[in-house]
């Protein structure tokens, strides 16, 4: 009997160990990437100079007299993400409100899977459609010589972040206890008032989390953006060809060498820090709103 018990104990520990290892793999990956990025990103920054690197406005990595200023990329990434949020969050939010509170079950049964499908479309497909449809349309509507621009990238990103915003917001609003609504309605509030004054505030942190997800996806997207933004290292302007932090790394990596390659790692490091910063600050916001 005792033997059997010991054996069971052994298996328990063994399985515990296996799961622990699997868990550590994920943590290890994050650590490995962080360490690797820092190690490979620092040398170029040292050589170029931090100020020069972050605030230089000219990027000419293969010129005879190369310059490595990534301010255009940083600003483009910020503007692009902000634009996508400004366009995407209202649409996503109201769609979520509609789906969670107003839509009939039949309509909901159609729209929800479609939104899910939108999340499953590979980013290269978004890029392709953007390149073949959106870019020419922008060129014609705004009468500019070429449609690849910050605007095209913003529109593509806004569509790409919709599914995560909608899905997370819907589940946040559906998690609000029915009693809240009943109480509000019983006190004489209209359904619309109930929705926006009771349900939405109660689901605030969930909706904020949806925005975080959106920001994260928008700032990290490379493929789709690369196909519609033009990729020239200009200072951002709505109808100019621009290059994001992500596309700066992706577009030059394949043939790069020497300091150029090291500088690309430095860009990746900057992007990484950006995403960490955004996640951390929004997580903090979430925590605060919860504590209140």
């Amino acid at each position: 009997m005792i033997k059997k018990h010991n054996q069971k104990q052994l298996i328990e520990t063994l399985i515990h160990g296996i799961f622990l290892i699997f868990g550590l793999v994920a943590v290890g990956c994050v650590l490995l990437i962080t360490v690797y990025l820092v190690i490979s990103g620092i040398p170029a920054i040292r050589e170029i100079g931090l100020f020069e690197f972050l605030f230089g406005t000219k990027w000419a990595s293969t010129a005879d007299n190369p310059s490595f200023g990534i301010l255009p990329f940083i600003l483009t990434s910020i503007y692009g993400t902000a634009g996508a949020i400004i366009l995407g969050v209202p649409i996503g939010f109201f769609t979520a409100v509609y789906l969670a509170k107003a839509a009939s079950p039949k309509i909901k049964a159609v729209i929800e899977p479609v939104v899910g499908l939108l999340a499953g479309i590979p980013s290269v497909v978004y890029g392709l459609v953007g390149m073949l449809v959106l870019v020419p349309v922008i060129r014609v509507i705004f009468n500019v010589p070429d449609g690849t621009s910050l605007l095209a990238a913003i529109i593509v990103l806004a569509i790409m972040i919709l599914p995560s915003i909608i899905k997370v917001s819907v589940s946040a609003m559906e998690a609000v206890p029915k009693e809240y609504e009943d109480a509000s309605l019983a006190l004489g509030a209209t359904p619309v008032e109930t929705c926006f004054r009771v349900v939405v505030p109660a689901a605030k942190s969930g909706i904020a989390a949806a925005v975080v997800l959106g920001v994260g996806r928008a700032i990290g997207e490379a493929m789709a953006v690369m196909m519609v933004a033009g990729n020239v290292a200009n200072m951002p302007s709505l109808f100019e060809s621009v290059r994001f932090l992500t596309t700066a790394v992706a577009s030059e990596m394949s043939y790069s060498s020497g300091l150029q390659r090291q500088a690309l790692f430095s860009i990746a490091l900057v992007l990484f820090l950006f995403i960490m910063l955004i996640n951390a600050s929004l997580n903090l916001l979430l925590k605060r709103s919860k504590e209140k």
């Binding site: 990595s61 293969t62 005879d64 073949l132 070429d146 033009g230 060809s241 030059e252 060498s257």
Partner: protein, 284 residues
């Protein structure tokens, strides 16, 4: 109970042993055919240089190692200049350069052998009335001196310049030939030949450049200085937007047996199809 379990265990073990034996035999069999295969050469062939030649040299290396599996073929994509330095410093067997050697490089004791030419087509939208440009006009267009198609006989519309990303061999070749290195005012920098062609086919005012072999019917390849780009005009040198793919070797050194066999193979007529499939114009 115990007995049945043990029997099962035995069965499993026997199965495992048999499988192992079979696998060992199979592997041994492979080894045998390899070592008695006859024609094969062993050794290593190290190449170093031009990134533009990646496709061509990669295809050639693959074809060569398929026939001679014991040869260790390596290709280090560093750029033409580094490749030439590497071969003169004996760091590789064959240097790869996508430009002809300069006289001072030849004076260092290096020999060039052209294996193929790479024609770069200047492409415009099919709807564009312009069919021919001089090399000078192309340079002026790319440096932003000419910004409207009407200046070169087209419609009154702004020219949209499409190019490749920094580091691309095609961009490097184009800018070197037109003398526009580092001064091109691109509107778009795309990362593949296909992207350039698609974009030019989408925008009526776009101009771009792409490897001649990849240009299809969706865009129009224009004549440069009155010469239409084609395999023949690239071969005879009359189409000027082209560059040679060159093998660089040390004049006074003999190649190793493996490297010499590889050299003979890729300079023979039998590889011309491989070279054309890889997007370059074969010379034989």
């Amino acid at each position: 109970m115990e007995k049945i379990k043990r029997e099962k265990m035995m069965k499993k073990i026997t199965g495992l042993v048999i499988t192992t034996i079979l696998v060992v035999f199979l592997l041994a069999g492979c080894g045998n055919t390899n070592s008695t295969g006859g024609t094969d050469i062993s050794g290593s062939v190290a190449t170093d240089g031009s990134t533009s030649m990646e496709k061509v040299i990669g295809a050639l290396g693959e074809a060569f190692t398929a026939e001679n599996p014991n040869v260790n073929f390596t290709y280090n994509p560093t750029g033409s200049g580094s490749g030439i330095t590497a071969v003169s410093e004996r760091r590789c067997d064959i240097g790869l350069s996508s430009r002809a050697l300069k006289d001072e490089e030849k004076a260092l004791g290096l020999t060039e052998t052209v294996i193929a030419y790479d024609g770069i087509a200047i492409i415009v939208n099919s709807g564009n009335p312009v069919t021919s440009l001089s090399l000078e006009d192309i340079a002026k267009i790319y440096t932003g001196e000419i910004t409207n198609w009407s200046k070169v006989g087209g419609d009154d519309a702004e020219i949209v310049l499409i190019g490749r990303e920094a580091g691309s061999g095609t961009r490097d070749g184009f800018e070197a030939i037109t003398g526009t290195k580092d001064v091109c005012q691109y509107r778009q920098e795309l990362t593949s030949t296909g992207d350039v062609i698609t974009t030019v086919s989408q925008n009526p005012n776009a101009i771009g450049y792409a490897s001649l072999a990849s240009v299809g019917d969706s865009v129009k390849a224009i004549s440069v200085d009155g010469v239409t780009p084609s395999e023949n005009t690239v071969k005879d040198g009359s189409y000027v937007v082209q560059r040679p793919f060159v093998l660089v070797t040390r004049t006074n050194d003999n190649l190793s047996f493996a490297a010499q066999t590889f050299f003979d193979y890729i300079t023979s007529a039998e590889v011309s199809e491989i070279i054309s499939n890889a997007g370059a114009v074969a010379i034989k």
